[in-house]
Symmetry: C2
Subunit: 352 residues, 2 copies
């Protein structure tokens, strides 16, 4: 049996504590489903700055490059907010590792568990639900386009999309839609932006290759509104780096808590899995953070890097069972009694 | 008594019908509050394309330039969607008039009327409400930055902010916040974009001139989430052209219907007032569109172009009274019985 080598980067804030608990769950699932894993820890973000001076040490990057998958916690916190931007945990750590590992597709599923229906801040028509997937382009767009300029009198960024980059992400999205409910919404601002006109043309053309997928195009301003008015109307959304950042966080609000939401970033050779939420410095170290986002990120690793859908579904089912039994961390307890990070993980393990 | 010359551009879709009704309300309010107005109509958008070949004829622009204020309906529709982008109603009409009139500040208030509390798709904690104002920079950013490039293999746009442009819009926002509840949230993506770092620096520096205003900075992804999780937490938001486009439409969802929402665009010499929503081609010509957004845009004209806060407040109060009495167009009736565009306007006039 192959042993999967997993680079584990707990990072900052709640990262380390939710990582510790999620690894226990993954170990238990691995035992049950015969998945052998070797976890190798490394530093990233503020933790790496404090120890080495760099938010993404070479050692970390080398480990990730040689691993079968990367599990990330979260990076950043007030302690490092006054460093020059490129040395901060976000730009120098998170964006740098995305770039170095050539991660190009960020998958952010948002599912409202029936048990958490009352935690959804949006009134969902009864009988419907929320179960959508944002496919965000992660390697290009205004995050990385050159030139970037900054002085006292002006700041400038470049939004660039090349047809090949758009095809690559569109393919991921069409295939995800074909495996799900068969509807793909491509989000752009083609009434204003040239990069969006290119985007729309490439996606529309690819639509012909996927006759089973119903493709529609939506402007980003309208999408931001429709996510509130009719979130159940979305299946898969595909969009650029910046719009994906905004819309995936917006849709995250629908799940009741950021603490519920995993993400997978698909790369050219290795994939990275991390919670959608941030490092939540305000609750770090208290043992109360919701570990589910981190655990579900591990489930996505089973599915996307180890091709073990069985184990992924089992972890998800165990989480759902725990929630159905009323086990909740504070963020999704709606004021009722709640458990800590460790007990939440225990509850999931028990139901595996 | 001065007679204000108002350029009236009904545009496309529901534009003409809501414009007609709103002018009746403004006439009535003008009579009551001694505001003399002369309305002069001109073409814009698809209507102008059909009649003249151009979405923004010179004649229209000349009229607007010589007027005391511009009232716009809405532009665009499927009929013109296959024209080349720059000849379409949106780019060639709306964006072109914004540029020609040097409109730089777009004010988009969103208020959830108590009578429409049940129409809000987001669960608002009882006792709180939604009453926020997005101040969107309208003259710059990625909408107008050069270069723009487009060919078969790539699309490119430039997001540019200059310190002076940011100061100008920040001043509008600080002053609005000082007149309202005293809280200003500046929204950017300063952890990634150079234009945002400049933006944040300029806004932060200006904060010192407004000690009575509480200034905070928020990333756009978080703002998109907080607008759902805690919309009552916002007073004034100030942000760039693209983020303002997205967030103001998102926040529009909170009002129950786009049909409720006006906007004002402040220019270097003349201001323009238009509903936040679009031309709604699906319901155009049926006499059922909600005229309130257009009427409230007229109230903003009273306030911002004629300096007549008294008349503005009176129109707003008459609308509120009509809603409280249960008079509603279909979009905000929640399935209960509803009235048409004309009756809604009549109900407002009656309560003036
Ligand atoms: C921290 C930040 C640079 C990052 C992004 O904008 O991509 C984050 O918001 C995310 O979505 O992962
Ligand atoms: C029609 C479009 C170009 C326009 C914009 O993006 O500014 C619209 O969405 C708006 O907000 O007024």
């Amino acid at each position: 049996m192959k042993t999967f080598r997993v680079a584990v980067l707990p990072g900052d804030g709640i990262g380390p504590e939710v990582m510790t608990e999620s690894l226990r769950v993954l170990e238990a699932a691995g035992k049950k489903y015969d998945i052998a894993m070797k976890f190798e820890q490394a530093l990233i973000g503020g933790a790496a700055i404090d120890a080495t001076g760099s938010p993404l040490p070479d050692e970390t990057l080398n480990l990730c490059r040689s691993a079968d998958a990367v599990l990330l916690g979260s990076v950043g916190g007030p302690k490092w907010d006054n460093l020059p931007p490129k040395q901060r945990p976000e730009l120098g750590g998170l964006l740098a590792i995305r770039k170095a590992l050539k991660l190009y597709a960020n998958l952010r599923p948002v599912r409202l568990y029936p048990a958490l229906f009352d935690q959804c801040p949006v009134r969902i028509p009864s009988g419907s639900g929320v179960d959508l997937l944002t496919v965000r382009e992660l390697s290009s767009g205004i995050y990385f386009g050159e030139p970037k300029e900054l002085d006292e009198s002006h700041g400038l960024d470049t939004m660039l999309y090349e047809a090949e980059t758009v095809s690559r992400i569109a393919k991921v999205a069409f295939e995800a839609a074909a495996r799900r409910r068969g509807t793909l919404t491509s989000v752009d601002k083609a009434n204003v932006l040239s990069a969006s006109i290119l985007w729309r043309n490439v996606v529309a053309k690819m639509g012909a290759d996927y006759p089973s997928v119903e493709l529609n195009h939506m402007y980003v301003d309208n999408a931001a509104m429709q996510l509130i008015l009719n979130p159940g109307g979305f299946d898969v959304l595909v969009t650029g780096n910046l719009f994906g950042d905004i819309l995936s966080d917006e849709s995250a609000a629908l799940a009741g808590s950021l603490g519920m939401l995993p993400s997978a970033s698909i790369g050219e050779s290795v994939n990275l899995f991390e919670p959608s939420g941030g490092s939540a410095p305000d609750i770090a170290g208290k043992g109360i953070a919701n570990p589910i986002a981190q655990i579900l990120s591990g489930a996505m690793m089973f599915e996307y890097s180890f091709d073990r859908v069985d184990a992924a579904r089992a972890v998800e089912a165990a989480i759902e069972a725990a929630l159905n039994d009323g086990v909740r961390t504070g963020d999704v307890a709606g004021g009722a009694s709640s458990v800590g990070t460790r007990q939440m993980a225990d509850a999931v393990i028990k139901r595996l």
